[in-house]
Subunit: 461 residues, 3 copies
Amino acid sequence: MNKNSSNIMALTPNTSNKRETVCIFGTGDFGRALGHKMIQSGYPVVYGSRSTQISNLIPKDAEVLSHAEAAQKAAIIIIAIQRQHYNFLIPLAEILHGKVLVDISNNLKLNQYPESNAEYLAQLLPGSRVVKAFNTVSAWALQSGTLDASRQVFVCGDDVEAKQMVMNIVRALGLTPLDKGSLLAAQEIENYPLQLFPMWKFPIFLSLGLTAFFFFYCLALDVIYTYIYEKKNFSFFIAITIPNRVCPVMALILLALVYLPGIFAAIIQLYRGTKYRRFPDWLDKWMLCRKQLGLIALAFASLHVVFSLVSPMRAFVSWRTGKGIISQALNNKTEPLNNTNAWISDSYLALGILGFFLFVLLGITSLPSVSNNVNWREFRFVQSKLGYLALILCTAHTLVYGGKWFLSPSAYKWYLPNIYMLSLVVPCAVLVVKFVLIFPCVDRPLTQIRQGWERNPKHSE
Amino acid sequence: MNKNSSNIMALTPNTSNKRETVCIFGTGDFGRALGHKMIQSGYPVVYGSRSTQISNLIPKDAEVLSHAEAAQKAAIIIIAIQRQHYNFLIPLAEILHGKVLVDISNNLKLNQYPESNAEYLAQLLPGSRVVKAFNTVSAWALQSGTLDASRQVFVCGDDVEAKQMVMNIVRALGLTPLDKGSLLAAQEIENYPLQLFPMWKFPIFLSLGLTAFFFFYCLALDVIYTYIYEKKNFSFFIAITIPNRVCPVMALILLALVYLPGIFAAIIQLYRGTKYRRFPDWLDKWMLCRKQLGLIALAFASLHVVFSLVSPMRAFVSWRTGKGIISQALNNKTEPLNNTNAWISDSYLALGILGFFLFVLLGITSLPSVSNNVNWREFRFVQSKLGYLALILCTAHTLVYGGKWFLSPSAYKWYLPNIYMLSLVVPCAVLVVKFVLIFPCVDRPLTQIRQGWERNPKHSE
Amino acid sequence: MNKNSSNIMALTPNTSNKRETVCIFGTGDFGRALGHKMIQSGYPVVYGSRSTQISNLIPKDAEVLSHAEAAQKAAIIIIAIQRQHYNFLIPLAEILHGKVLVDISNNLKLNQYPESNAEYLAQLLPGSRVVKAFNTVSAWALQSGTLDASRQVFVCGDDVEAKQMVMNIVRALGLTPLDKGSLLAAQEIENYPLQLFPMWKFPIFLSLGLTAFFFFYCLALDVIYTYIYEKKNFSFFIAITIPNRVCPVMALILLALVYLPGIFAAIIQLYRGTKYRRFPDWLDKWMLCRKQLGLIALAFASLHVVFSLVSPMRAFVSWRTGKGIISQALNNKTEPLNNTNAWISDSYLALGILGFFLFVLLGITSLPSVSNNVNWREFRFVQSKLGYLALILCTAHTLVYGGKWFLSPSAYKWYLPNIYMLSLVVPCAVLVVKFVLIFPCVDRPLTQIRQGWERNPKHSE
């Protein structure tokens, strides 16, 4: 009680006398952890176990009985045993009739069985009222009270009253129940704790691969080439200079890759003349991870901003600045302000700032709580209109900054192009094709197709 | 099925055999898109159509029957036809009796009809159980699977069981149902997709107008005046220097405008001696868009921060710095550190940083998910106490930075004040009046009034 | 009506004729404010009052009757009176039988009474259907329409139908009802508006204390020492230099304090050989405020970043830079690039940037809407793996930056260590112990213990 009272978030009514007895089948780790927590919250707990001999591991205020006896004592029975052993419940069907059975099991793999564990349990015991709950809570977190992430407990079940009873227990334990509907949702709930950023895998591996490629490309051209041909040791470029070259390149390419699948989709639809045929699989997958690609692009862009902003604090930069000024002073002359240079430097900085600003705006609107508060029109406006504007600004930023490199022969060390040029290929292609697509003669049929019109109705048969 | 399985977020149980037949009235774009999606998710779909002749556009696994025949085959009927044609359902009233009718319609204008479409449908067919759903989902998004924004499906209806059935379908399609209560909520749900940032319109137009004004004001004073009278071409100021003058001015003015209506409200209440009379309309509207004004102010402040931070990277700034150092070197002397300058420069930077920090904190607490997690006292503490502190710090930042301009005649080009001075008018006025309002002799009656006391009870009759 | 229609978010159906009469017991401030709002939304309102003489304060469209008469006119009765006066309702028990009673009361202290007000009301009038609602809404906000924070109305009650009726009213007033379950939740709902950042108190006071200590420590060593022994006035260091020394120290120490309790917990579990015994109270409390500690650490880190980035704009820094360059120019020589310095400067900047980047990522995932969207495995991955990586990077950043100070005697002014050294104690200790804990010979038994194994089962008896 002591511990719980320190947790102001999990205030539980102290009217323990009201609580109904809860039965737990199974004395494994999770069964014990849940029992401890329930006893703390004032529930009388009775364990159903094969050996009714009292184990030391079981909370000492709990009773241990045979399964049948324990089940008779409570209206709610928590099934803390594994799916493989559900069969042993069949002989108890009569006792369990009408009782609320809480399925808390998890699987080891996604979609391991054709039906969810909870649905399987409901099939085995058609007279019982099965509720799925607690499977997303970790036993360790329950025990230690460190429930930062997983206060949410997904609950589903076909019987509304049974669900209500389970949700009341969830609340009494200081957790937040979330009703996911009928038992059909059990499969989704069971898959939930098995996922580790499923939508992020492809974007992250793609980014890592590209980053490694560009890093070594820059290393070769900027450090190794300089060392071989100019005998200068610029190895410290590895820390900031090269990352600050790779980051903007990655940000621009990934941002372009966010908009590329939309371009492909439009072309495919124009070519097919219908929207009622499925896109190729790779395009579908690509479209589904656009948000993740965009957020990784934003991460690279943010790193680029910070890497750039620290540059005046770098020893190398202050040395280079000082050298320039000293050589002017020693030559006894002051160079006048080069107006073109001032224009170029100011405008690429301004373009970059505005592009980054829009980029951050896109990132904020993709926060779940913000995107749930905007409707479809608003989301499309931000993600499509402002997104393209960000892409245009960032491409322009790169063009203005790196434009001078295109014609300079020194940019082609070992006959390889500078990475600025490589970074511009995808975004420029996207922008050019998009520019073509918004011409009325292309846009009109595309809009018609997206509203359901078909060029060759035969095709969809 | 292939496509769906690639979308791990939208896992649907594969137990298709359980699904109940769904009937769709209407073979328009949305009806077809929904039918496709339902067939993919394992629902047998039957279309009710005037011409039972099978159209090529209809998903090939779906049956097409007359309205009456189709309705008899299913317990749930999706009404994918427009409100104007709802009349034709009246002859079917007997067949539709007890059936769940899902109204998915939208209007073209906000509050187009006195009652919502769903309520109208319920009036036409009093024996049916009408549920509003799916109107916020775009057909195109449903078709293409790109449901980033709109996984949420608002559902409302008077019959709890009917609503539950519809919410189960929503879940099976991989979407998230959100119960909005009884059919009374239908009007709100129908208005929802028609809005494009309704609360943002006024703040955005105001900001655009003021920004344009200040931009041209600065352009005139900083570029044109300098060009005419000093023959210097500083046209590149357009890219960074002028935006970085306009942004802080806009941020400060908009932040003050967030707190100004509260000041007006207090004065009006003090004058009237009661809180039970309505504020003027313009004040009500103003108060309702304070959050938006604050967020736009934060956007300007962020731009100001980044514009300022890049300044050492500008060609113009490094040229100016170099020139200063070279002239000292050529004169063979080193200027000693000016302690006053060091104090002024450090303190306005520190004030600006702290003000911006509080400003960002205010922005974070206004994120929906954060503000839903704080209670009224906490929200008031942050938005009012910390908000005023941010305003004080930002005003002080501007005063310390721009203080020297007030007395310098060079700041009055063409007899116009520098925009620093203009920017200080509103915030200083707000702070002065607020300072008066917290005096006990003013604060006490105000608190009483806000707790329900009235000076002249006659007034409220 | 005029005012309401300006608030597009709170669109209420204008079909006023349908609304059922609502009765309000009590004519205090909140009762009146709620009555006003309900009349605006089209509800006929009747007040129950001891003196049926019409008061001027009551909305003029409302009827005022005796309690018994008023109660008979409506199915829903809002109890806007204080808990102490609930007794007077007992004689009305028969009239109130079957009616929906809405308890809107709040207490003055947390857990003031053994049971919540709503449960007390339900005990007094067992025949009525009690629903808790509206207690988190402020009367002033209701009156003025400025409901930015508290659109959410927590509703709980044992009768589902009664709850539904109240939630419909909540919606009609333009607010968002949130069903918190049965009446058991009333205590939590009543405590809610009384809390002012309860979990933040300890972390904030700790931070303020430490900040003050480090500030004066730096002030003594950097300003006073320099003034006494070197006769230099560096008082302006108070504005930026010293804050920028305190902020990173605080960020690093607080970040280490986030991970320290986990280390203690592991050691205690290893020592005890079981996880089934409660941690000491201080450790429990500490673990529960780790998120808050982490967010304050992030705030300090962000301030450190901005304070560092503005440094090139400081008058002192440009003076110092200029002096260095001029002295080189006057000596007619250019120092060559010091490669070691370049490496050190670039690597501590890069380490700091990456550490801060991960730190921000941790902050974003702790936003409620983001952490609700990740499961337990994902949350642990981010908060534990990435968190430790951030701690390692930030510690390395400090070590590389401040490493030179350890051996320099000038760093020990007044025989006191520089604060860089102080700041490294806790993080280094945490990292060293954590490093020991991940050795297999230590990690294996710890993992077993966390999965429920016990070394001395006797202990738990």
